[in-house]
Amino acid sequence: MSEQAVIRTRGLTRYFGARPAVHDLNLEVPRGCVFAYLGRNGSGKTTSIRMLLGLLSPTRGEGSILGHDIRDLQPEVRARIGYLTEEHQLYGWMSVRQCGEFQSQFYPRWNEKIFQGVIGHFNLKLAARVKDLSRGERAGLCLGLTLAPEPELLVLDDPAMGLDPVAHRSLIESMIYLTRRSDRTIFFSSHELADVERVADYIAVLDRSVLRVCCSLETFRNSVRQVRLRFSGTPPPVPKIPGLIQAFRAEGELRLTCVHYNSTTEQALRALGPAQMEPVPLNLEDAFISYLGERGEKSFILSETEAQP
């Protein structure tokens, strides 16, 4: 996957004053995938995206996007990247049509059909003024403006934020439509785990400036497991178990969530002498929340290579 990476960073770090916003980020995004970038508010997602696009210089570390150094991105490289910001910056006095005409001037490769298609998908009128548009309509317009130049790499910073269910569905449909071209990569940040489940091939999770997960969605779901141990008396104290990320204690019961769950983990759990031991099904949200919970070991990262047994 190395030669095919459209985004790659090594030790990418950014401080604001004494506070690290992104710490030692090693990210690799393969070409042609849909990559979800997750983390709580303030975990450093937008800061790292801005560094990737050359809009903010790193304190240290390095990165490349479409094979070019992020500290020196030329306009022709930028033109191959579509970037949708959280804020949907537009001129209020323009009409939808004028926005399209204005934007098209900056791109040699402007596909009017795509622009019209997205606009239509969001039910936007070409004559409508930007200042009269709803949040969902602005999102649709921005998406159209971002997609029309047919970017090789699409970077969407929290595109679902504030969208009503219909606009939201249109957004996800547009993302799926884009996967028609197998060489197009979508990198998006989000809090919507349902979207992630629908569209993502890979996920990365930032937790307080530090990358904690970077692997395929399937690997993530397979390696995070919760087990319920029942005891006839009081459960014993929980020893150090590799990969333990969350432990709940109840009457005669322990519920443990582990990453890299394998036969070693199972042996360690059996050694606690439970009367009964059974897996608890976890949905993506459960797995994600236990990962970002306050308890548990924080010192490791779940990546594709480490996940192999």
């Binding site: 996800i172 799926i176 996967t179 629908r198």
Partner: protein, 135 residues
């Protein structure tokens, strides 16, 4: 007849497994017969609003199991289920499922006779579904 597939996000089961489970069930219940068509990967992905790779992953699993096959230029079809597992292997796969059902039933305070009766009843429903749809 064609199969109506649905998915839920937020479920304990990953989406690709929701698809494979539904197809397996439809085949077992006779709702999907040999040569019945399935939607193409792209069409199903767009209808369910999910990543086509997820559908491809599900179809690959089903193909490996011999439940469906892709015919060049014509689409994806249900096939006659080839015998994939030895009897022994079949039992090895079935046993934990039986254990899970019985265990859950015990926790929920069902008695063995009740359980036996429910099992017979279900079995009857499956038989009639299999016989009723196609003949």
């Amino acid at each position: 007849m064609t199969i109506n597939l649905n998915i839920n996000t937020g479920a304990n089961t990953p989406i690709y497994r929701q698809i494979t489970d539904q197809v397996r069930l439809a085949v077992a219940a006779g709702k999907l017969a040999v040569d019945d068509p399935l939607p193409s990967i792209r069409a199903l992905a767009e209808r369910l609003v999910i990543n086509p790779n997820t559908v491809a992953r599900a179809y690959a699993d089903l193909q490996r199991e011999g439940l469906i096959e892709s015919r060049a230029g014509r689409g994806v079809f249900a096939t006659r289920k080839r015998k994939m597992f030895t009897r022994e292997e079949g039992w090895r796969r079935l046993e934990p499922l039986l254990d899970a059902v019985i265990g859950e039933a015990m926790v929920l305070d069902f008695t063995p006779p009740e359980l036996r009766e429910a099992f017979e009843k279900k079995l009857g429903q499956w038989k009639s579904a299999k016989g009723g749809e196609k003949s």
